[in-house]
């Protein structure tokens, strides 16, 4: 009998946790969070990378990120070319919303890097806006140095970590 009850409670707890997670990580869960999760993890269907309308295609063929030099939020020519392509894709897929993540390398203090990442994400948002992407489809977030993609303590890794990543989070109005 006690065992039965604890199994029942466990099921209920797991069920509850699953609901919470679905709300939190699921696409289109609210206007504010754009489907973004607390660990910096978002979940959205990637789709078929061969489908030009899929987030996977955006990531792989359009290019979802731009890079910055140390302590800078300036968009160089390569970055502007990538953002031009992002803007075209976003203008072709007006049901999509994005979160722009700003990141820094590990060679700075934590708080400053959060502010620097915010500045980088904002630079991308302003550029995309200038190319016709509506502000209400975009949100920015900064991770500072908290989410490096490369772990090595060398210049080549720092170069790849100083980035802004455009993440397709949800269909607008979903």
């Amino acid at each position: 009998m006690p065992r039965f009850f604890s199994a029942l409670i466990l099921t209920a707890v797991v069920g509850l946790a699953a609901c919470t997670n679905a709300d939190r990580f699921g696409p289109g869960s609210g206007d504010d969070d754009f489907g973004y999760g607390p660990g910096g993890i978002h979940a959205a269907a990637l789709g078929d990378p061969n489908d030009p309308r899929s987030p996977a295609y955006f990531q792989q063929s359009v290019g979802d990120r731009v890079f910055f030099t140390t302590d800078s939020s300036s968009l160089n020519t390569a970055a502007q070319r990538t953002l031009d392509a992002q803007a075209r894709w976003l203008n072709d897929n007006r049901d999509r919303r994005i979160v722009i993540e700003g990141h820094a390398d590990e060679r700075g203090t934590r708080e400053y890097n959060v502010a620097l990442g915010a500045r980088r994400a904002n630079a991308v948002q302003e550029y995309l806006h200038s190319q016709g992407v509506a502000l209400n489809r975009m949100r920015t977030v900064s991770y500072g140095k908290e989410r490096p993609v490369e772990a090595c303590p060398e210049q080549r890794c720092w170069d790849l970590n100083r980035r802004a990543v455009t993440v397709i989070t949800a269909a607008a109005g979903a």
């Binding site: 206007d31 504010d32 969070d33 754009f34 489907g35 973004y36 999760g37 607390p38 660990g39 910096g40 978002h42 302590d71 939020s73 590990e106 060679r107 700075g108 203090t109 934590r110 708080e111 400053y112 959060v114 502010a115 620097l116 915010a118 500045r119 994400a121 904002n122 630079a123 302003e126 949100r139 977030v141 900064s142 991770y143 908290e146 989410r147 490096p148 993609v149 490369e150 772990a151 090595c152 303590p153």
Partner: protein
């Protein structure tokens, strides 16, 4: 590079251990009390003996000796004291109240003698101690007794340590304090970060958050009962306030399209200051916790972050890149004109006002190295205390003598370190996992 210049640990005459301090530079001042100045290179730790604390009744045996060992560990870890090993003792102390045979302690070159005893009644533990200056034959201060629940036995050992340290150095203690920090696990590109709290010596570790949300940079309230931190609970960085007794946390405000981080309490415990990023610009705001009223303190198209109040609450030191690079500035607590204080080469960040009000600790990066340093509040007398691949985020011990910070080795995990403001006694603080962002509590009541 000056890692440390003159380390000036000044011991007032009242706390002087009289004779036997020959290795130290002793200097009489013409118009002041006798002082001992310990400078880099000539510091000789003061030898002390701490015979096992006496168990005054049977059940106290479980606590008596461990309490003594915690006191020894605290004192030795300061780098200012050296224990005379128990094997070398000539005498056993069997009665707390019997006069200590100081000649036997003189013979083993102990300069200080600490005798203590514990008794237990139910779950109530009493701990008492006496401190002797062996060479002068005098007791230093009155004997003291602490009592409390057995669950707090380590705290009582810390109280004894604080009293001993304070009597001998003339400085306030810092052992009965805690550290809130971020405990880290998992790979670097997907690190799990949990708020954690422990005693200053690493004991009694508890986790405060479950690791689901990314968190960083916790800060204590002036009474030690609450903690501010930044969490990605909503997916975006926001400032949270946690009550340590209940573990309940609340978001301090949620304006869509903004990010808030780098919070810190004002000394009054009622006001909180933090950074708010909007449209790529990061400014400082203060918020009254009871009314919720928010005041914008800086307004510049640049970054202003890592604010810290002076202990009297009148001014705020912060970092800004308004000049083009990260530098330190001081402004009135209500906002207004900011004066730059950092003057050396390199980038300066994470300034923290010392509890005594006389110094600002900071992180400096210059030529690919990171340093923890201190300067006077006008920017003068800058001294770098450490150097490594990545040192950052200083926090002051309650007595303003010791700084704890995060150190990361290339490609490795971060760990907590402490260093004396003289630049001496660099130590790793024991944590069971990778750790970062320490914040030292005030001395516990």
């Amino acid at each position: 590079m000056k890692i440390s210049r003159r380390a000036a640990l000044v011991m007032p005459a009242a706390a002087l251990l009289s004779a036997g301090l020959a290795p130290l530079a002793v200097r009489a001042q013409s118009n002041g009390p006798l002082r001992i100045e310990i400078t880099e290179g000539v510091i000789e730790p003061v030898p002390f003996a701490l015979p096992d604390f006496i168990a005054e009744n049977g059940p106290a045996q479980e606590y008596a000796a461990p309490i003594g060992r915690v006191v020894v560990s605290n004192l030795v870890n300061t780098g200012l004291f050296r224990e005379i090993p128990r094997e070398a003792h000539l005498t056993r102390v069997t009665s707390f109240d019997a006069p200590a045979a100081l000649s036997d302690w003189r013979a083993v070159n102990a300069q200080a003698l600490i005798v203590g005893a514990a008794s237990l009644s139910g779950s109530r533990l009493s701990v008492k101690f006496r401190l002797f200056d062996v060479f002068s034959g005098q007791q230093m201060g009155e004997g003291l007794q602490f009592a409390g629940d057995t669950a707090n036995w380590r705290r009582m050992a810390h109280k004894v340590s604080d009293a001993v340290y304070s009597r001998i150095t003339g400085e306030g203690g810092y052992f009965d304090s805690r550290v809130v920090f971020v405990s880290e696990s998992g790979p670097r590109d997907n690190r799990v970060k949990r708020l954690a709290i422990m005693d200053q010596d690493g004991a009694n570790l508890q986790h405060l958050t479950d690791g689901r949300a990314l968190v960083f940079a916790p800060r204590f309230s002036p009474d030690g009962g609450r903690v501010l931190y930044t969490s990605y609970e909503t997916g975006f960085p926001r400032v949270y306030l946690m009550d340590l007794a209940t573990r309940s946390a609340r978001n301090l405000g949620d304006q869509p399209g903004t990010m808030t981080f780098a919070p810190r309490f004002a000394p009054n415990g009622q006001t909180v200051i933090y950074s708010l990023s909007r449209g790529g610009t990061t400014d400082l705001y203060s918020q009254n916790l009871s009314s919720g009223q928010i005041t914008q303190l800086t307004n510049a198209p640049s970054i202003a972050t890592a604010p810290s109040y002076a202990p009297d609450g009148s001014r705020i030191v912060f970092e800004s890149d308004r000049s083009g690079t990260q530098q330190l500035y001081i402004m009135p607590a209500g906002g207004g004109e900011a004066r730059r204080v950092s003057a050396g080469q390199g980038r300066y960040g994470t300034p923290v006002w010392s509890p005594r009000g006389d110094l600002i600790a900071f992180t400096k990066s210059h030529q690919g190295r990171f340093h923890i340093g201190v300067m006077r509040t006008d920017g003068s007398q800058e001294r770098l205390l450490t150097a490594s691949y990545l040192d950052e985020g200083p926090t002051w011990a309650p007595n303003g003598r010791v700084i704890m910070f995060t150190r990361e080795v290339p490609g490795g995990n971060p760990a907590l370190y402490s260093v004396d403001i003289s630049g001496r006694n660099l130590r790793r603080v024991p944590t069971e996992a990778a750790a970062s962002d320490p914040a030292w509590s005030p001395l516990m009541p």
